[in-house]
């Protein structure tokens, strides 16, 4: 007979208080008639990022599920108290690393609201193009991964090609592929190059064909349908109760999109629809994401067609002057120093602001408290993934182990956002 494992100290205490009690460490014979505890993640190949689910299984059925955060603690919020408003932009890249651009934009918009800056039209249009491109890459990858997790590896590879093309555009614009750091408070780091417009148009031309291909592989594929229809069902009311937003909520019939309901960056002037599905299962989420990619492509086209000329930065006291002016003009040099010198920088008014944008995963909110120095007093993020990760528990309790994978990939939870 194997010896019974003995936990000491904290571990024993944790076990006593854990929902699984003592059975969590039992290696006694007779396990067959007991529930089995398994760790799904944080290093499971089918887990997207360092997420951990502790599952209590009765055969193949999940009796109880305990989603656990804390395997990628980054301290991003605390970091906000030690970085200036502009320096924090690089931190936002690393929160949701699949849509860094959308995070940059959301954060910059929040600080601009705090400062009461109005952006020039060109800056807004560029941001819209970039935010929607980021949505396209995030969604298309999410669709591909959903396919991969259910056995359709091909669709994932095709999705990755499209994502690469979006990242080429990002690299051309901002200099970085994954960590874009493209926005600054009051505008953008660089102007939008013309070459980029040509690339984006070329990309959008082929995008529809690729979506058709991915659809052809998945939409009517019985294996995909059998494993996704009716799985991880979540009702509209549950979405509201759990605070779930974004494609997951829209797949449950919750008609909510910050771009339309609380427009920022002049989203009201673009003509787009908010796709809604009512089934609230994995398949519905797949359909919503597909439809959203098409709507985003529509918005990008409109924004490119109507791209205004003019400055890409709000001219004034918060943005850096043009480099050539810094080298040659005294006033520009002084302003440059005033913004960059330690202890100086952007002067924000005393106050607080909550601003939310529609990031690819849902409502991304920033709550920023300023005490009037150049550094935020507090930065609080409302990342969509946290709420979706909480929703995992009701979604998979009572279902099969195989559904866990499908559920996780349909939620597109990003670990970097969870433990900020």
């Amino acid at each position: 007979m194997k010896p019974k494992l003995q936990a000491t100290g904290l571990a024993a205490e944790a076990l006593r208080d854990s929902p699984f009690g003592e059975s969590a460490m039992s290696t006694e014979p007779g396990l067959a008639d007991k529930d089995m505890i398994i760790n799904f993640g944080p290093q499971h190949p089918a887990m997207h990022g360092t997420l951990r689910l502790v599952l209590r299984l009765d055969g193949e059925r999940v009796r109880k599920c305990d989603p656990e955060m804390g395997y990628l603690h980054t301290g991003f919020e605390k970091l906000g108290e030690y970085r200036t408003f502009n320096q924090y932009v690089v931190v936002t890249d690393r929160m949701n690393y699949l849509s860094a651009m959308a995070n940059n934009i959301g954060y910059a918009c929040a600080v601009e609201e705090l400062l009461g800056i109005e952006l020039p039209p060109r800056a807004k249009a560029i941001r819209v193009v970039m935010a929607e491109m980021s949505r396209i890459s995030d969604h298309i990858l999410s669709i591909g991964l959903q396919g991969m997790d259910l056995g359709a590896f091909t669709a994932m590879l095709w999705a990755f090609i499209e994502r690469e093309k979006v990242y080429d555009v990002f690299e051309l614009t901002s200099g970085g592929r994954l960590t874009t750091s493209y926005t600054r408070v009051g505008g953008l780091a660089f102007d939008f190059p013309e070459e980029c417009e040509r690339r984006i148009r070329k990309f959008l031309e082929t995008l529809e064909g690729v979506l058709g291909e991915i659809e052809g592989m998945l939409s009517h594929n019985r294996i995909f349908i059998d494993r996704s229809k009716g799985v991880a069902h979540f009702t509209r009311e549950q979405c509201i109760a759990y605070g779930v937003t974004g494609p997951v909520a829209r797949a449950s019939g919750l008609d909510r999109d910050m771009r339309r309901d609380r427009p920022y960056l002049d989203y009201e002037q673009y003509d787009f629809e908010v796709p809604i599905e009512t089934d609230g299962d994995v398949y519905a989420r797949y359909l919503v994401r597909l439809a959203e990619v098409r709507q985003s492509a529509r918005i990008v086209r409109q924004a490119l067609d109507a791209m205004p000329a003019g400055p890409y930065n709000a001219l004034g006291k918060v943005t850096l002057p043009d480099k050539d002016d810094v080298y040659s003009k005294m006033e520009s040099l002084i302003q440059h120093f005033m913004l960059e010198m330690p202890g100086h920088g952007i002067k924000t008014p005393l106050g607080q602001v909550y601003h939310s944008t529609e990031s690819p995963n849902g409502e991304l909110g920033w709550f920023i408290v300023s005490d009037g120095t150049g550094v935020p007093y507090r930065v609080r993020v409302r990342p969509p993934s946290v709420y979706q990760f909480q929703a995992v528990q009701p979604m998979i309790e009572g279902r099969l182990v195989a559904d866990v994978v499908a559920t996780m990939s349909s939620l597109n939870v990003i670990a970097g956002e969870l433990d900020r």
């Binding site: 924090y88 080429d168 970085g176 052809g216 294996i223 796709p275 359909l287 440059h336 960059e340």
Partner: protein
């Protein structure tokens, strides 16, 4: 509210006329045969296309042969390893104003200023020590943005494996000699 995307495409035998059954419920879907055939067709079509991947590290998308995709080598915004820019006389342009040090979000630049030699009439200070810890650096480009005299630049060079950590702390000499192709007097238009 718009319809589910698959409705617009009308796959299967029910494309016209009577309402399409939900995906997976039509007879064609339930037999699984059309889906298999369609999948094979799509995969074969892709199989015959030009491949997208490159055999890194033998070749890279930044090579000239990938000019149509090439973004890095020709992209002045690409944020790779730093250089310290030299002026016409081969001296570093840096005046040790410490702005880059203050702007760096990763706190990886270390500068110790010293008075410039008397014969350098155009500046009062120069860096005695200028170190960048490339392992801490997040390649954000804020140092370049902060520099008021174009003394530091990020260049399209990123591939630099080393065998120890200390080698990744670049000192002034190394930064001055880094990526000589990017040592052009004029700052590239970004």
């Amino acid at each position: 509210m718009i319809h589910a995307a698959h409705d617009d495409h009308g796959h299967g035998p029910h494309a016209h006329g009577d309402p399409e059954p939900a995906p997976g419920e039509s007879i064609a879907d339930r037999t699984y045969v059309p889906a298999v055939l369609r999948g094979i067709k799509l995969t074969l079509a892709r199989f015959l296309q030009k491949k997208f991947t490159v055999e890194y590290p033998e070749e890279s998308v930044y090579d000239a042969s990938y000019a149509d995709r090439g973004i890095g080598a020709s992209n002045p915004r690409h944020r790779g390893e730093h250089i310290l820019v030299k002026d016409e006389q081969g001296r570093e342009k840096c005046v040790a104003c410490l702005l880059c040090m203050a702007a760096c979000p990763a706190l990886c630049i270390h500068i110790e200023p010293e008075p410039a030699p008397a014969e350098w009439t155009d500046r009062e200070r120069r860096p005695k020590v200028f170190e960048i810890d490339m392992l801490r650096c997040i390649y954000c480009g804020y140092c370049e943005e902060a520099c008021p005299c174009d003394a530091i630049r990020l260049t399209p060079k990123f591939y630099q494996p080393t065998t120890s950590r200390t080698e990744r702390v670049y000192d002034k000499q190394r930064l001055l000699e880094n990526n000589p192709d990017a040592q052009v007097p004029q700052r590239p238009r970004k």
